[in-house]
Symmetry: C2
Subunit: 347 residues, 2 copies
């Protein structure tokens, strides 16, 4: 699209008013669906708007109402399936409500960077923020010393609760428990855990679920190995684990990428999956079905989390507008996708 040097100025309310033969205020009423406009006048105004191609100026409206109609999202620059999908869910839900979405990406994990990102959002006068940043540091940075900008956390319910912040997200605990129990039920004595970073709330919850399931089953709890969500860390972690306990038969990886790395490590040392070792992941990224073997994993419904976050946030920002009904449960259930990477232990 070429740059147009001087397009004619966009029509404003007064223009519409003049054309329709009413006052600007009446136009405003029509635009805002006020009931106090006669059907006839409304039609005339609508026609004038149509004819002029009028669009309300959101900036002026924001200034007058002191409401920007924009939500902010803070996220990390990882291309993790979860945050990205959640972001889309947020945008869809916000768009449906007529709200805009601004984003701020935190380049590295430091509370400093989080504060700067938040500051960028504040500069854009967002009315509230959805934080996809579920590391503990981030939560702390976001809750501490900041202006009263309503915030909803997605993902890490634990720390959020500590910080007395509203949060929504996947039911990590139940999901991790299901994954572990699945392996246990297949007959494995115990399940090893290739954990996510423990400063991520999601990572911690998955450990918790794993631990609970083991405890319930009376299984011994092997030392966990911590990774950073990356396939590389799954690979390295798996080798470590194998070195520490060559007899292991079942591994629950904290996400699918790490599971992929584990798969590779097992292949390198000649262990077959699932004949020798079973693997279960978490997330159900679209590719998981095409791993070798197809990965048994816990599906998360990220987009729903995003939607939920928006509705929860709306309740904080505009209590009157928020869907009146009871607040939806903040926990999105998971789904265990049993594929071929898990099976009974070798006999």
């Amino acid at each position: 699209m070429r740059h147009m040097p001087d397009s004619p100025p966009a029509p404003v309310m007064t223009d519409v008013a003049r054309l329709a033969g009413v006052s600007h205020q009446t136009v405003s009423r029509v635009v805002n669906d006020s009931p106090h406009v006669s059907a006839q006048t409304r039609t005339r105004v609508l026609a004038a708007m149509e004819q002029l191609g009028y669009r309300r100026n959101a900036v002026a409206r924001a200034l007058a109402t002191r409401r920007s109609g924009t939500l902010g999202v803070i996220t990390f620059d990882t291309v993790l399936h979860g945050p990205v999908t959640t972001l889309y869910g947020v945008e869809q839900a916000a768009g449906a409500l007529g709200l805009g979405v601004s984003i701020a990406v935190v380049d590295r994990v430091s509370s400093d960077a989080v504060v700067r990102a938040l500051s960028r959002l504040e500069d854009q006068s967002v009315e509230g923020v959805v934080a996809l940043a579920t590391q503990e540091d981030a939560v702390r940075a976001l809750t501490a010393g900041l202006r009263a900008l309503p915030t909803v956390f997605v993902g890490g319910l634990a720390g959020a609760a500590e910080a007395d912040a509203p949060a929504v997200g996947t039911d990590q605990l139940t999901g991790a428990r299901a994954a572990t129990r699945h392996l246990l039920q297949l007959g494995h004595r115990t399940v090893h855990h290739l954990a996510g970073p423990q400063d991520w709330l999601d990572g911690r919850w998955r450990v918790e679920g794993w631990r609970e399931a083991l405890r319930t089953a009376g299984a011994e709890e092997p030392e966990l190995v911590e990774g950073d969500w990356s396939a590389r860390s799954g690979y390295v972690g798996m080798r470590e684990m194998l070195a520490a306990d060559p007899t292991l038969t079942a591994v629950f990886a904290a996400n699918d990428q790490m599971a992929l790395g584990a798969l590779r490590a097992l292949d390198e040392v000649g262990r077959r999956v699932p004949d020798d070792v079973s693997i279960v992941g978490f997330d159900d990224v679209p590719e998981a079905e095409f791993f070798r073997p197809p990965l048994t994993t816990v599906r998360q419904h990220f987009a729903e989390s995003g939607q939920l976050a928006v509705h929860l946030l709306l309740g904080l920002i505009r209590p009157e507008d928020a869907a009146a009904g009871a607040a939806p449960p903040p926990l999105v259930p998971t789904e265990l996708m049993v594929r071929r990477s898990s099976g009974p232990p070798p006999t």
Copy 2:
């Protein structure tokens, strides 16, 4: 963060002015780094701002200047590595320039949805848009019948050029050529192509590069099989290809996900990689290194594309502010990452 019922109103310019004993305009000058303020006054104003915790109201400023200071990004709801990383690049570059970024996600590929997404961005008064939507339909929808909103396309240079729209992106052609040539040089008679969707400009360019390399080498051009970027389509496509030509020895997949699917398909029919068949992907997603075998692929520098897009867009929006120097070349070079999925053909 709890909802605070009534926080004290944020300080405005006049408050700062009063405290500093100057006029609001002088405060404005300080905020905007005008040279026409004495050092002494500036210090006093700065101190007053500090004391009051003043932050300029971006909305009011936008109304007065008729510039929102916000860029829009249109993207699809795919969790493709490329668009997401580009998005981050855009945000980083914009943030560094003091610009905000609003997003609009297109839920499905229809020009209608694209128009609606664009409309959402317009409603937010973005000054320009970066379109990560590089499908032909999308480009057409974006360039057609729309207001004079400056737009930069990322990714698909071909169609953009047709539409006379500025565009930046990876040098797909050279990348695809390099991938194909790499296989040819290993001794393969020819290279099959598991193509991306042909209504995506990126997909088309990759075909083009592949075709050129084959032609240059005088190699026969096998029929291509078209996929949709997904691992599933790579899997299905590979099986099709194998059925059509069981003697194939080298495949260039249009992206890494499709390569993953292909890897799986080959495994299922007992073909070893790279001993029997070589595979090369495109993108170099972080996981590619942990595929089995590690995937030879073409790395794209998505974040740089995003940055470039922002600078190009800035040139359209604010010619005076744009870095004066020559415009950067709009093509970001690729990098061939040779790993273990490619090797000489079986003898």
